[in-house]
């Protein structure tokens, strides 16, 4: 078992992108998947326990060595570069793509209420979103979705890790309250 852990550490370090469990299992073909899973979990716990400055984190469907967030200030001191930033327009656009994907530009614009050409281009350049196809309607608009890199950059295991939109909960709660109080102004907007 000890040896498996050492191999996994080496595999994760040698991989440029987050390393999926499947690939680890493909390499450790003699080992049962369950055991590989346990080894990864134990390793992760060990790094945490010893309060190492680095940890094995699950992002974008794979495992990767990453520094702990508490270390950010020190690394910034070392690198002496400004961290990458996204404008509010880019973040809003990205959030809409992330939650509503796959979708076309006009759908993003109807939510934001403004033209989104500039933020879209920026997000494509940064490879946070990508073209996933074309919609089969007149004009064949381009359909956008998020990339694996989006998950890597935002430290997400997968898209399901995104928190549910607050709007949904609020609308439901509000709907219930309204039913009780004012009968007449009920909004039964069908979607």
């Amino acid at each position: 078992m000890e040896n498996i852990k050492a191999i996994i550490e080496a595999l994760i370090l040698s991989s440029d992108a987050p390393l999926p469990l499947d690939k680890i299992c493909a390499v450790l073909s003699e080992t049962r998947r369950e055991d590989v899973k346990t080894a990864v979990a134990e390793l992760t716990a060990e790094y945490d326990q010893r309060q190492s400055g680095i940890s094995i984190q699950e992002v974008a469907g794979g495992f990767q060595y990453r520094t702990r967030t508490e270390m950010a200030a020190w690394i910034k001191k070392l690198k002496n570069v400004k961290p990458p930033t996204l404008s509010a327009a880019a973040l809003e656009t990205l959030a809409i793509v992330a939650y509503r994907q796959p979708l076309v530009k006009s759908e993003i614009e109807s939510i934001r209420g403004v033209d989104v050409s500039a933020p879209l281009k920026g997000l494509l350049d940064k490879k946070l979103i990508r073209i996933v196809g074309r919609k089969d309607v007149p004009g064949k608009p381009i359909i956008y979705g998020t990339t694996k890199k989006f998950l890597e950059v935002f430290n997400l295991k997968d898209l399901s890790e995104l928190p549910t939109l607050r709007e949904m909960k609020e609308l439901q709660l509000q709907g219930e309250a309204k039913d009780e109080v004012q009968e007449e102004s009920r909004e039964e907007t069908k979607d």
């Binding site: 991989s15 270390m71 950010a72 809003e92 209420g113 403004v114 990508r130 709007e167 609020e170 909004e187």
Partner: protein, 248 residues
């Protein structure tokens, strides 16, 4: 008024559009989003637009569209509500659509803020591989061993890069029609390679819509021009038989 104007000018910078401005006004006035006093909000909204105009700043069309929407809602609100609305007459609150839009936008604004708070690579967490937020550098690399992930976007970026490098303007003239034509050219060549020779009718196959006929014809013309196929006719008005120009 001067100081007030300045305030507005500064505030304007942080608005992401008319919806954002509306949300700001709702918050500032501590208004229930489900029960917006349209008259008040419209008035304040228009005030903002006037100030922007008086500062000679250009105003995005979206702000004006929203202004007219607000005015429209306001006028609708003034109409008397029927005393006992029947099932069919059950008119929706004229504000309903706007409220829905505002809530939706607000929720994504919050989602964006949540995203921003996550541990972000190259800001809060770092890894050994340079998997950071690098811009697409488009740097040239002739070596075949540099591996990269590929998407359609990258494909077109690569082509775009080449075009700008070679400065061949005509390369830009590629559109959807041309691409569909290429599909048909490919299809024609594939079938000719398999069948050795085919008639125009046979090439058309089952699907015979106008577009298909025109495109197949254009494909044949293109292929003849490219000297990839040869067309033969036994007699005037006879069947045109098409052969690959060269045996493969």
């Amino acid at each position: 008024m001067d100081t007030q104007t300045e305030n507005y000018a500064i505030k304007l910078d942080i608005f992401e559009g008319p919806l954002d401005l509306l949300l700001y006004l709702i918050k500032k006035n501590e208004i229930d989003i489900y029960n917006i006093p349209v008259a008040l909000i419209t008035e304040q909204y228009l005030q903002y637009l006037n100030i922007i105009k008086s500062l000679n700043l250009d105003l995005a069309g979206e702000y004006l569209v929203m202004a007219s929407t607000l005015i429209h809602i306001k006028s609708k609100m003034l109409l008397p509500v029927p005393e006992e609305p029947t099932e069919e007459e059950n008119e929706k609150d004229p504000r309903a659509e706007l409220v829905k839009q505002l809530l939706e936008y607000q929720s994504f604004k919050e989602a964006a803020a949540d995203l921003e708070k996550r541990p972000i690579l190259e800001r809060d967490v770092f890894t050994h591989a340079s998997a950071g937020l690098q811009e697409n550098t488009g740097k040239e690399n002739e070596e075949d061993d540099e591996l990269i992930e590929v998407s359609v976007f990258e494909l077109i970026e690569a082509f775009h890069r080449l075009v700008s490098r070679t400065d061949k303007k005509e390369l830009l003239e590629i559109d959807v029609e041309k691409m569909s034509l290429t599909d048909i050219i490919n299809d024609v060549m594939e079938r000719l390679t398999r069948e050795k020779n085919l008639t125009f009718e046979e090439l058309l196959g089952e699907r015979k819509d106008r577009r298909q006929i025109i495109y197949t014809f254009l494909a044949i013309l293109e292929l003849i021009k490219l000297r990839m196929i040869k067309a033969y006719q036994t007699s005037a008005f006879g069947v045109i038989r098409i052969f690959p120009a060269v045996e493969s």
